[in-house]
Symmetry: C2
Subunit: 229 residues, 2 copies
DNA sequence: CCAAAAGTGTTTCACGTACACCCATGC
DNA sequence: GCATGGGTGTACGTGAAACACTTTTGG
């Protein structure tokens, strides 16, 4: 069976840059290609868009199928349409980036599979296609957006310490932050709620855990508030 | 002649939101459709992507062909892939936004053609397809980006007065700005160069004209400077 | 000389930044 | 009791915001 059109058509794909946060650095999820081109090379999870699914749906489907990743924050990044980005034929790809909680055991379990790996951003293998370019753009977007939108929380467990949150910003922004000033600022935004839990299993004083209050954020945003770190 | 593929493929298009700045408001360039669907309705300029051209090239080609617009600032906005955005078949469109200098006589001349019009953003006709949605997103993007990137200048003539520039920000951001504070701030950024020209043909004191110095901007940016209005 | 917009400084307040020590806990 | 990170306050400087009058020019 085949499908015919009056004019030639590019193939349409999606690719996903999935970020995860470890203790000390930002990681990205890669899959090892099983087939040519770029056989055995590492690549971003992705694939062709089906006619009966939206772009977002295609991205989520590919994430689930290829990497077992579900329930992540997902946002469209950019569409790449260079003529020879795929050696086989013209393929235009809509790139997405996703933020996953590495602390989530389902994510851990799913990505334990063969051919799926988390790579530190500053120790990457050579990537297939123009995927390095896509990844660079995703990192830039994350760096820019984390400062004025509450997306950092998508990389942390639901309850986190202020030190964890500070580390997150330091890792993503690539700068050191002052502990006292950071706490003053983040608490003054009035987006976090103190829980009655503390860190577990540390051999020093346990840190208090906080959670992000999205309702508060939405309410403030409606009133014209704009967060900024 | 026809082209066959093993799996069905969506058609791929580009659409452009072209902004222009008049004395008192922001305008967008629309074209009147000659054929169904949405015959006679107003729509964003755009069309199908050819196999041998990049997405950017397709956007520029359509702008030139449909509206006679060339040499504008152009940036990819977002890709829209809802299933029924086009009643004929599945069409995925990569949307762009462009900033044109309405003062440019070539732009004026080209868009004098039948079926091309500049519409004020708060007095728009009903648009074809999901073009209102695309336009809303473009306006949001412009509002966000104009504050931290030197793109406002793309809407002004090469030499402009500080009052013109202030009006630009007021119109795009939808807020009033204080004249003295605005001048202090914009001049302190050290991105503008005073020329020895002044406004012509006004019946009051003529304003000094300035120009944006892109070299200075690039140099400062390399040094970590980030502009902000 | 009148209308219209250009151009110009100072004060006040909020926020960002720099900076060091004691506290709680587990081993 | 010691190692480890948790938690806290103040002083200073910079930048944002508020605010009104004089100057220039053309008609």
């Amino acid at each position: 069976m085949s499908y015919s059109y009056q004019y030639p058509r590019a193939a349409l794909a999606v690719d996903c840059v999935v970020f995860g946060l470890s203790e000390s650095d930002l990681k990205v999820l890669l899959i090892q290609r099983k087939i040519a081109p770029f056989q055995l090379a590492w690549a971003l999870p992705g694939g062709f868009v089906r006619l009966e699914e939206t772009l977002d749906a295609a991205a989520r489907r590919e994430l689930a199928e290829e990497a077992g990743v579900t329930d992540v924050y997902l946002e469209q990044l950019y569409t790449f349409g260079d003529l020879n980005r795929d050696p086989r034929e013209r393929v235009v790809t809509v790139a997405y980036y996703a933020l996953a909680k590495l602390s989530d055991h389902r994510i851990q379990a799913a990505t334990d599979a063969m051919g799926v790996g988390w790579y530190s951003l500053d120790d990457l293998p050579k990537l297939a296609f123009d995927h390095q370019h896509i990844l660079d753009m995703a990192r830039d977007r994350l760096r820019g957006k984390v400062r004025y939108a509450p997306i950092g929380f998508e990389l942390l467990p639901p309850r986190f310490s202020l030190t964890q949150l500070q580390r997150l910003y330091e890792i993503i922004l690539g700068t050191e932050l002052d502990k006292r000033n950071f706490r003053k600022k983040i608490l003054s935004l009035d987006l976090l709620v103190e829980t009655d839990e503390v860190e577990q299993g540390v051999r020093h004083r346990a840190a208090r855990l906080y959670r992000f209050d999205r309702r508060k954020y939405d309410r403030l945003t409606k009133q014209g508030f704009e967060m900024s770190i």
